[in-house]
């Protein structure tokens, strides 16, 4: 019971029991679960079938890809043009991607600074630097949303796409450095793929952020 007072907890249990029961249909949520698992299963099947291709074909592919120019435009985050903007402007200019940051902009438990990164005159990345005070204490996070559907990739963020641990739709790792959990993640999602950094005294902080995205 999480250390709560038994008498009060009993009173609230009865209180909630008499409240209006929600009339909602879970069909869509169930379908979403199935879709998420299918996406993960497809990726696993694709990985298996690629692995089983003959060795010479794999060598030829490596050779061809080594000669071909990279299909993804790379840029350096450190030297990209930056523009600090308010959330209201972010919403106007990048409605779909800005939704990623909606829970943080609205919450009284989070502070946020937003930056638009551009290269060669084209916006490529949205960044939110967050200070969050929640059930996991205070911690910092940086959430970056790709605006280019993968056509542009910051050099500094490329390693995120090959992080070790693989969940459904995401890759992540957490290291324990100087008494803090330092996490990175790459999340494939509608509304823009995300690159996430979290520093926290609690290991669950990454999961908390990923649960919101």
């Amino acid at each position: 019971m999480n250390g709560k007072d038994a008498a009060i907890e009993r009173r609230f249990r009865e209180y909630f029991a008499g409240a209006e029961a929600p009339g909602i249909d879970l069909k869509e949520a169930k379908a979403e679960l199935v879709r998420a698992r299918r996406r993960a299963a497809k990726r696993r099947a694709l990985t298996l079938s690629l692995s089983s291709a003959c060795a010479c074909l794999a060598l030829v592919l490596v050779f061809v890809f080594a000669l071909m120019p990279a299909p993804v435009m790379r840029y350096a985050l450190a030297s990209a043009d930056t523009e600090t903007v308010a959330y209201s402007e972010l919403k106007e200019r990048f409605a779909d991607e800005a939704r990623t940051f909606a829970p943080f902009s609205l919450s009284s438990n989070a502070t946020a600074e937003y930056t638009v990164y551009s290269t060669e005159g084209q916006p490529v990345l949205l960044e939110a630097r967050l200070g969050i005070s929640d059930g996991l204490g205070r911690f910092k996070a940086v959430v970056r949303v790709d605006l280019t559907e993968g056509k542009y990739l910051a050099e500094e963020l490329a390693p995120y796409k090959t992080l070790g641990k693989r969940g459904e739709d995401c890759r992540f790792e957490t290291l324990y450095i100087n008494g803090e959990y330092v996490s990175r993640a790459y999340v494939v999602r509608e509304g823009g793929n995300c690159f996430v950094d979290v520093e926290s005294a609690r290991e669950e902080a990454l999961g908390f952020i990923l649960g919101i995205l």
């Binding site: 008498a7 209180y15 902009s105 996991l136």
Partner: protein, 179 residues
């Protein structure tokens, strides 16, 4: 009405994580009323609260891969509802508030006649708490925050939050005639 079994809820979340979509029915049956009460307290009406709840279950289905066994599943679920409610208000350009009055006046809307009398006693007692005390009760008994989480939410030290919670609980129990 059986007590809220945190272990049982956590098992449902783990079951959901393994791909059993029917676990969503169990979650709705176990904590749906609390989720609905929280949503309604934030968005202000039952119809919008149902939309928030539908969205919350979508987010639960989508995000369950990140749920970690052994952590507080109830708090995880309620956090999703809270954030979904805030997001709902933001999309409709409405100001986000957590109206403590709305959380503690469930009997104003459709409420079971059998439980109404006891419910009104609780609501009456809650009204006699000051805002700070009611907020402590809200964090602890609605959102299932730990003392540490209450401290983080309010910016208090852990010990101060613990004392404030205890004081609020003692006052409420006295008002309810439990001590």
């Amino acid at each position: 009405m059986p007590p809220l079994d945190h272990g049982q809820l956590n098992e449902m979340l783990c079951d959901l994580k393994r791909g059993n979509a029917d676990a969503l029915d169990g979650i709705l049956a176990t904590v749906g009323r609390r989720m609905f009460a929280l949503a309604r307290g934030i968005v202000g009406n039952a119809s919008d609260a149902e939309d928030v709840l539908s969205e919350s279950f979508l987010k639960i289905a989508r995000g369950v891969r990140t749920f970690k066994e052994g952590t507080n599943g109830y708090a995880w679920v309620m956090r999703i509802v809270r954030n979904a409610a805030f997001d709902f208000l933001r999309k409709r350009k409405r100001t986000a508030t957590e109206d403590l009055d709305a959380f503690f006046h469930l009997t104003d809307e459709r409420y079971s006649p059998d439980r109404r009398e006891e419910a009104l006693l609780l609501e009456e007692a809650l009204e006699k708490l000051d805002d700070g005390e009611r907020r402590m009760i809200y964090y602890r008994y609605y959102l299932d925050f730990t003392v540490q989480e209450v401290a983080a939410e309010t910016g208090m030290s852990r010990s101060a939050a613990g004392r404030a919670l205890l004081a609020a609980e003692e006052k409420l129990k006295k008002l309810l005639g439990e001590i």
